[in-house]
Symmetry: C2
DNA sequence: GCGAGACTCTCCGGTAAGGGGAGACGCCAC
DNA sequence: GTGGCGTCTCCCCTTACCGGAGAGTCTCGC
């Protein structure tokens, strides 16, 4: 029986490409039965077809060549099985990772009913110039500080003859929420150059993409809104490091009836989905 | 405000390694706000932290850098979402592949009850020398041919004064099953050198790892056994190209009662599991 | 015996997403 | 001015091959 095959024939017999076979030869994973010393031509025996097929099967199952080599060289079933089991658990881990990634991506693209109920919207806001007061404050005194700052801002803007171009707002750094103490800014957008006066300074409120939820009642009671927003953002958007923002649509200046105040809580995100 | 960060600080702020940041710079995916022309030092602005975090999130979800670049450059939600959806479906595909691989590997390692019922075993058989008759036959005449060959073999072995060292058997190439016509060998293992005589030639039956099922009744009715064995091998072993083998444990020479014949059907495999 | 076309050889370079390290230079505090 | 970091560029390494260049080999037909 003619039992030797050229690399091309062996390739067709095993469905491994010629390149792959040469690669396996180089690695010593599957050495041809014989190499012609004059021409360098590889010759494979038909008896090597089974080994080649086993290698191909393991490759289809994603096993690295090094591990395949170990498995094929292992004389006893126990060693073989240990390596196969090790590969299996690696695959299972990868499976879990991929599943989580798929779930995340799906959540990004498909808004759930719960979010619709919570009435969260995504919005792109342009940058704006504003008069602002920035201080590091203890948020236990937050409400009082905020009202004082707002009063000073309104007075300064009016005193400099500037027109307000949108609702007042606030910018809060992360420690404000994690440690109830941190840098906070209250601002009033206005149309002209602000001259520094008292605590008031000009700033430019940066453009941003925001996830927005509206909260009715005193701003200090906005924790439910924050919770809903954070839950939404963590599942359906790409949270982005940046200052949390509030816009005071209806506040002290509009009505003394605190229950009618309306505040927008805004979380910076990278917009995708809906 | 001091808004510029060295690459080290930016790395700590974004949890991207310095190497990774340089790589993204080189690709133009995330360019530092400024590069000192004298020293080459990169400086990042705090405003770039969000972009870096978005990139990191997408990388954690396995998105290729090229696609991240496209997503981040896309001005409208539709384009962003299309690319994210494309990545999602790629991931789902990969998920399916990994799931199938995991299932395959698990099946290799854990024999099922069905296999125990089918009574399949794995066995390693050493090589053996034998007297054999090899011909290309039409399997519609298989039973008759086989009995004739067996008779001639037994006669020749006895005539040459050789001792039989195991049950007679057969080796069948693939076309025998797919086209009912192909090269078949019937052999009787024996302990000495066989002199060619008539159709009889010496061969060495190669060593092999075999999945084995036992079939009771005439060999011609072994299709159920073949089905069970093939099902087993495809799920719980690594089938290997090689000749299918049969061993005739109890046959014509032992009893005329065909129902008491016993045949082992053997499929070459790469042994793993149980 | 010779030429065409198919086959094979080695070597080089490329892939994705960075990691590791060498050697040189910059920055800051003491 | 000096020691200890931080940063720079440049090069090689990883996995499992694929693509191609340029040269040599085999086989078939004439």
């Amino acid at each position: 029986m003619a039992l030797f095959l050229s690399i091309g024939d062996f390739s067709r017999a095993t469905h491994l490409t010629v390149k792959t076979l040469r690669h396996y030869h180089e690695l010593g994973l599957l050495e041809p039965a014989d190499v012609d010393p004059a021409t360098g031509y590889r010759r494979y025996s038909v008896g090597q077809i089974p080994a080649a097929q086993v290698i191909r099967r393991f490759r289809e199952l994603g096993m690295p060549l090094e591990e395949i080599r170990t498995v094929m060289a292992a004389p006893d079933l126990g060693t073989r099985n240990r390596h196969i089991a090790a590969h299996l658990s690696r695959l299972e881990e990868e499976l879990g990772r991929t599943q989580r990634a798929v779930a995340s991506l799906r959540a990004l693209l498909t808004p759930s009913d719960a979010d619709a109920v919570a009435d969260i919207s995504l919005r792109e806001v342009p940058g704006a110039s504003a008069a602002a007061i920035t201080e590091t404050v203890d948020m236990r005194d937050g409400a009082a500080w905020m009202q004082g700052a707002l009063g000073e801002l309104y007075a300064t803007v009016a005193g400099q003859g500037l027109a307000q171009t949108g609702p007042a707002g606030g910018l809060f750094s992360e420690p404000v929420f994690t440690e109830h103490y941190g840098e906070s800014t209250i601002f009033v957008p206005c149309d002209g150059p602000v001259r520094p006066m008292g605590r008031v300074r000009p700033i430019s409120v940066p453009a941003a993409e925001l996830a927005v939820i509206e909260h009715a009642g005193p701003p200090i009671e906005s924790d439910r809104a924050y919770g809903a927003l954070a839950a939404y953002v963590s599942r359906h958007a790409l949270a982005v490091q940046g200052q949390i923002r509030e816009y005071y649509l209806v506040g002290q200046r509009d009505t003394a009836e605190v229950a009618r105040w309306r505040t927008e809580v805004c979380w910076p995100v990278f917009r995708v989905g809906s």
